[in-house]
Symmetry: C2
Subunit: 433 residues, 2 copies
Amino acid sequence: MTGPLRVACLSIGDELLSGRHADLDAPQVARALGEMGLVVDRVEVIPDDEQTIAEAVGRLRGPHAVIVTSGGLGPTLDDVTRHAVARAAGVELVHSEVAWAAVRVWFERRGVEPPASNRRQALIPTGAVILPNSKGTAPGFLLELDPETILAVLPGPPGELVAMLQDELVPRLRSRFGGDLNLMRHEFALFGLPESEFAQLAGDWMSREAIPRMGVSARDGVLAVTLVSREDGAELLVAARAAEFRERFAHWIYSERDEALATTVGRRLLASGTTVTFAESCTGGGIGRSLTSVPGISGVLREGWVTYSDEAKRERLGVPAELLTRHGAVSAEVAGAMALGAARASGADLAISTTGIAGPGGGSQDKPVGLVFLGLALRGEVWTLERRFPPVDRDRIRRYAEQTALFLALAGLEDRLESLGAERAGGFEQLRD
Amino acid sequence: MTGPLRVACLSIGDELLSGRHADLDAPQVARALGEMGLVVDRVEVIPDDEQTIAEAVGRLRGPHAVIVTSGGLGPTLDDVTRHAVARAAGVELVHSEVAWAAVRVWFERRGVEPPASNRRQALIPTGAVILPNSKGTAPGFLLELDPETILAVLPGPPGELVAMLQDELVPRLRSRFGGDLNLMRHEFALFGLPESEFAQLAGDWMSREAIPRMGVSARDGVLAVTLVSREDGAELLVAARAAEFRERFAHWIYSERDEALATTVGRRLLASGTTVTFAESCTGGGIGRSLTSVPGISGVLREGWVTYSDEAKRERLGVPAELLTRHGAVSAEVAGAMALGAARASGADLAISTTGIAGPGGGSQDKPVGLVFLGLALRGEVWTLERRFPPVDRDRIRRYAEQTALFLALAGLEDRLESLGAERAGGFEQLRD
């Protein structure tokens, strides 16, 4: 057994340090290389400054088998990554006819003469291997810094970076390091289990010394769990732990792929030919947006409603005025009636609904900010679910509500609504057909 | 004139290196401190490893007036930030009764006995000033590393970090550095202008030596532009450039605050009492989700539709079957009819609509992936807009379409539809009332 090969990422660009956007490049590199068993153990975000870049490359080359830079390859004078890495490597920067031809072709395909300033993008350090850019003008390149460290220089725009990672860098690194990587992995995606409770249930599976090693990350109620082993017999070790994991966390697992909840739900709906609709109040369109992120979803989705006012709930979904008056718009009864009304109006097999108080205003003692009711109508049966999300902020409450509605739909499809805490609702005979 | 004070961020946590999520903490720090004139010029993302953290703090203290760490303050043994920074500072880590009282209170308010493991969160380096945590258990702290560098240690969860930044760190740094910061800034938010065209139009305003200095960042068609000066007479310099900027970029400016397009649109709708609705096809709910992200929007928004199928467009919005057959669902005619139909059905003053081909499938020679038509109905008048977005990926096309629809609504409110390239549409007499 050997330790994993280590990778450092350098994300280069003044705009990355303004705080306006997160750095999205390094996570892409970490995922793509992580899948082949290389481990990113350091990311540095630095400005477009030649000396700063050269210093970082020089400092990181020792302990890292691979250094990946992103950004600073544009045609303007403030982009200095090429110059900086050539300086760090101690080699000349020269005009490459091959790189220049690639830049020219990119412009000519668009019927445009390449501007003279773009010649700068054809400057390549001596000895580097050019990586073609299928999505933009700037070629990337690979440069051996020494027998222990290889430097990959990629463009900054995420679309260009991802394409070059997948098409060029990963295949080359795989053929270079393939023999050293003995990696097995298995993924689980869970919904609705707080990370602290997960840690307690997982116990010593989460220890740093555990084999296989378990990694967890949390966002919007979703836990992404990865089991990884590079020991001898990795395949068996991972399969055995995955089987135990599947049993212990059955309530919360929604997929054994690393995918969004909407993707799992969309796939199940399409596979089973179950038609779907939605009626949203507090989520305001978020469920629809998530479901329609799935390509091909039009096969099972015709329409949905955002019914923000009481009047819209009555007129579009047939929610009885009396339910709204007696229980209020934010109630299990209205959530159930919204789902059933949407299912009837659209003729869909399955409908989900949300009604809640997303804040910051509008809360009361009885119905505080964060209180959300979800409804599910599935082939004429109605279920409801109550949730009290932490009243942290409006966006987060809305995202949790949206995800919970999707999980409720999945639980309906998998016939495990009771284990989720959903209650069967009746008394909707008065709804118009 | 002196240079700005420099800040380094250390984002600490194994999970930040998995590539699953971007680091959201450092951008928060960069923005909050940037607003008071401190400049983050380096971010490092490193694992929960004592030696790595201590090395980074030691290396960065020289050139930086402030080092801000986030993460690694949890109660479990893998969180080692406290130990690492005490080691880097060369001071003891001791149990603080003040910190422990704060942790206990947090649990007791929730009716829970504080677990023994959380005592670890009361370990504080000698000489540090405790920063209370209003959103979680882990106290932060401030530690003078030497007369030139102050170290701020903050918790990792973004909600806790942001509260501690705003309530504790910024006020303390302001009172410490206030006299040294002579900063004026002005912000613009633009929509629909590609970054490369912006750069050409801005010319030497964008040079690194320009006074005031201009910063730009781009996302989903939005450009956020900041003018900054710390020279003598900064106020006049920034005001003069802002006046020129306002004139040169009038077509694309939607706000002089750093805010999302939906926020600007929502604010205008509420201020003018203009009621709004929407009919979405390719965006699938994204417009609704954006508009309802604005607190209080229920004052002008009652309902909206996601009409994904032709049938839904006919039944819910009254789009004539003949228009769908003759022009296809993805057409200016149908976009216009959807907007008018939604306005009539809901009685709203203003309606926006989208219909397009988000891909990856469904494109043709005539109607390629990326083709989107947007509709606007405003007090009975109908306008349409055609856009061909780069066929890069489904999500991006949908986000662009959503943002363009919001910009179209704003242009309608500001009576500048023609300058946007929108066309007035007629021939909808056949739509039912």
